[in-house]
């Protein structure tokens, strides 16, 4: 009897020894900190694996067990690898450099072995592969395009452009589109002119108006290499040969998004991290804040949150398991080291008020994080009053700065809030990396986020 139980246990062990994959999507608009998060996550998990106390919250959950982490071999994958070593080297350099803007998709894959606890310990470690995708933040807003027709997208985009506060920016493009004759022919010169005007409009909306909900994302951050012809289109309502051509190119663009971004990663997620740079949005004003909020909501709505019966049928038809539903969502407000400790609670509360899980089935948690910590907390006396602030060195400036951007609201900002100044975030330099990065990367709150995402394997 005992022998049978042992045999069955061993057989189960063998099954469990297979390395299953946990896919975690990172969504965040441009400059939200996706690359910094992935770099810090990889470097700190590798440091924990080498016995360094880089992630205290993860070490607490391990309760003395030794985590083994390694960068997974790329094998024959057609997605380039996320270059952890060069990003860590840039942060560890003196003077340090922040990772450059991401211009293409890359994959970070980590093999993680977590020993089991208690009576299950003899079964050997749990073996998992964690996969994350890094991509230009501008491309995130291409995901909602997949659920839209060209006509709907054109109508929605033009309506939004007409209601822009800074309508001067949109006037050249809107004048061009409204001035096109009915039944206009599919002329390449018209196509190029419309595309150029629309791409220029998107750039000005980003750079001058501080807006984020800008589609298509590749118009702002084109992938490396010569652009294919289907990337040259613009929103055009009505029926005409030119509109038909725009629709064909829009569909080809959507296919590329599905092939390059949705299918490799966002189509089959186990967990999700939603990053938002709320502090920068607070500085840029109410229009920018509302725009960033709706952009994040649109991106989240484009993801798969549950499985429908059609998914089951489609999967059975292909003799495959149906795609995963997202089980854990971490909402993280980034750059939390730019505000003092007593304000981080407000930042978490603000993030909580702005986010939601669509169907409520996934477990969610809210964090205020700094993937790469740059500052320390200090108390500055101002006109005889103590003010909690942070202290750090701004890149290129040898003298440290003491910084307090303003009060962070604990809910959606009202009109009264927008009457006060909220300073722009300075470009602080990262703290010195222990052992040039081998000891991990100083972080704030990232350990709690990782412990939450990996709850199922950490126990």
């Amino acid at each position: 009897m005992v022998a049978t139980i042992l045999s069955a246990g061993r057989l189960a062990t063998d099954m469990l020894q297979l390395r299953s994959t946990i896919r975690i999507g990172i969504t965040g608009l441009a400059r939200a900190g996706k690359t910094a998060l992935l770099t810090s996550l990889a470097a700190n998990l590798l440091a924990v694996s080498a016995g360094r106390p880089a992630l205290p919250a993860v070490s607490d959950r391990l309760r003395g067990r030794r985590l083994r982490v390694s960068i997974a071999p790329a094998a024959a994958s057609n997605i380039p690898r996320f270059d952890v070593a060069s990003h860590v080297a840039a942060l560890a350099a003196d003077p340090p450099r922040w990772p450059a803007r991401t211009t293409a998709v890359s994959m970070l894959a980590l093999d993680v072995d977590v020993p089991r606890e208690g009576l299950l310990a003899p079964l050997g470690p749990q073996r998992r592969r964690l996969e994350f995708l890094d991509y230009p933040g501008e491309w995130l807003l291409d995901l909602p395009l997949l659920g839209q027709s060209f006509a709907d997208w054109s109508e929605m985009t033009l309506r939004r452009l007409e209601t822009l506060n800074s309508s001067e920016i949109a006037r050249p493009f809107l004048g061009f589109v409204r001035g096109l004759p009915l039944g206009v022919q599919a002329d390449e010169a018209l196509t190029l002119t419309g595309h150029r005007l629309y791409a220029e409009l998107l750039r000005r909306m980003r750079d001058e108006a501080g807006l984020a909900f800008l589609q298509p994302g590749r118009f702002l951050m084109p992938p490396p290499g010569a652009p294919p012809p289907w990337t040259e289109f613009f929103p055009l309502p009505g029926r005409s040969p030119l509109a038909d051509l725009m629709q064909v190119r829009f569909n080809a663009y959507a296919d590329a998004v599905r092939r390059d971004l949705m299918s490799p990663m966002f189509g089959d997620l186990d967990g999700l991290v939603v990053l938002a740079d709320l502090l920068s949005a607070l500085h840029q004003g109410p229009a920018s804040f509302a725009d960033a909020r709706s952009a994040l909501a649109a991106a989240a709505d484009a993801l798969r949150w549950d499985r429908s019966w059609t998914d089951w049928l489609a999967a059975f038809a292909r003799l495959k398991l149906p795609p995963q539903a997202i089980r854990r969502v971490a909402f993280a407000a980034t750059k939390a080291d730019h505000i003092a400790a007593r304000q981080r609670g407000n930042l978490i509360a603000l993030m909580r008020r702005l986010t939601h899980v669509p169907d409520g089935s996934a477990k969610s948690a809210v964090f205020a994080i700094a993937s790469v910590r740059c500052t320390e907390d200090v108390v500055e006396t101002l006109a005889g009053r103590p003010v909690s602030a942070v202290r750090g060195r701004i890149i290129g400036e040898p003298r440290p700065a003491r910084y307090y951007p303003g009060e962070v609201p604990d809910g959606v900002p009202d009109d009264l809030f927008w009457q006060h100044r909220f300073l722009a975030l300075p470009d602080f330099e990262p703290m010195r990396l222990p052992e040039a990065g081998r000891g991990g990367i100083p972080q704030l709150g990232l350990d709690a986020l990782i412990a939450f995402l990996l709850t199922e394997i950490l126990g």
Partner: protein
């Protein structure tokens, strides 16, 4: 109600070095110290002290009886104690070799080029037959390159040699089980084969474990068996499920036949190799 303070960005008058993170301290468990147990300490004192006193009393009594007899008794005592000390020395050396495996693993996992390079050289000192990779090792300038070199060189060769030992032990165990007249004798004979195989694998990895070292190695091998099990699925999951933890099966006194015993030897060899090698396989 107090108004919120005005935002500010103030530069300090003096320059300062780049900020350093305050190192986090991990809670560490209090190590278990056996010598602090009064029971064990008392037993050790009695176990060693009484025989020593008795031996000294005996030699003293022999000297009282006849001087020559006393010298002969003293020579026997010194000779016996000397051999025991040599044995203890070998045990300690065997145990330290096993401990060195753990230390080397830590060094290899450190990610520091210098430490990994030094650890690799230290490991190869115990494996002179693989010294031909030393020039390539000197040229490898990253920890990843050093580890890749060790994996494809000495580690792979040791793995192949372990497979050969495992297969040879498997054939022997088949013959022994077939030739043993009493089924109850299978436990002893196959168990003896297993222990011998573990010691052979240890010797292959540059270790010479004594009795204590062998016991420690048995423990490590039992722990490594679960890891090794992962690689066995492709062979035969059902059979493997019966044999992948041979020590437990020995303790249970359950030997299921010559085929199972053979399979057990191959798995045991792999588990012992995992326990003896500082290079962790993926």
């Amino acid at each position: 109600m107090n108004a919120a303070p005005e935002p500010f960005l103030l530069l300090e008058p003096e320059t300062a070095p780049r900020l350093e993170a305050v190192p986090a301290l991990l809670p560490t468990a209090e190590p278990v110290r056996w010598l602090r147990s009064p029971t064990l300490a008392g037993a050790a004192i009695l176990g060693i002290g009484i025989p020593v006193l008795w031996a000294l009393w005996l030699v003293s009594a022999l000297f009282d009886r006849w001087g020559t007899l006393g010298w002969a008794g003293l020579a026997i005592l010194v000779c016996g104690i000397g051999l025991i000390c040599v044995g203890i020395g070998r045990e300690l050396r065997g145990l330290s070799a096993l401990r060195r495996v753990d230390q080397l693993r830590v060094e290899f996992a450190s990610g520091e080029a210098g430490r990994v390079q030094r650890a690799a050289r230290r490991w190869l000192q115990g494996l002179p037959q693989h010294s031909e990779i030393l020039p390539a090792l000197a040229a490898a300038d990253t920890p990843e390159a050093v580890l890749a070199l060790l994996r494809s060189g000495p580690s792979q060769a040791l793995q192949d040699a372990t497979e050969v030992l495992g297969r040879a032990a498997a054939l022997q165990s088949v013959a022994i089980v077939a030739a043993t007249p009493l089924p109850a004798m299978d436990v002893l004979t196959v168990g003896w084969c297993g222990v011998r195989l573990i010691r052979q694998v240890a010797a292959l990895h540059g270790m010479r474990p004594g009795v204590m070292g062998t016991l420690s190695l048995l423990q490590k091998t039992a722990l490594a068996a679960a890891t090794v099990a992962a690689t066995e699925i492709a062979v035969n999951a059902a059979t493997h499920a019966m044999v992948s933890h041979p020590l437990l099966r020995h303790l249970a006194g359950d030997v299921a036949g010559a085929g199972v015993a053979a399979r057990r030897m191959i798995v045991l060899a792999r588990a012992a190799a995992v326990a003896c090698s500082p290079i962790l396989r993926g």
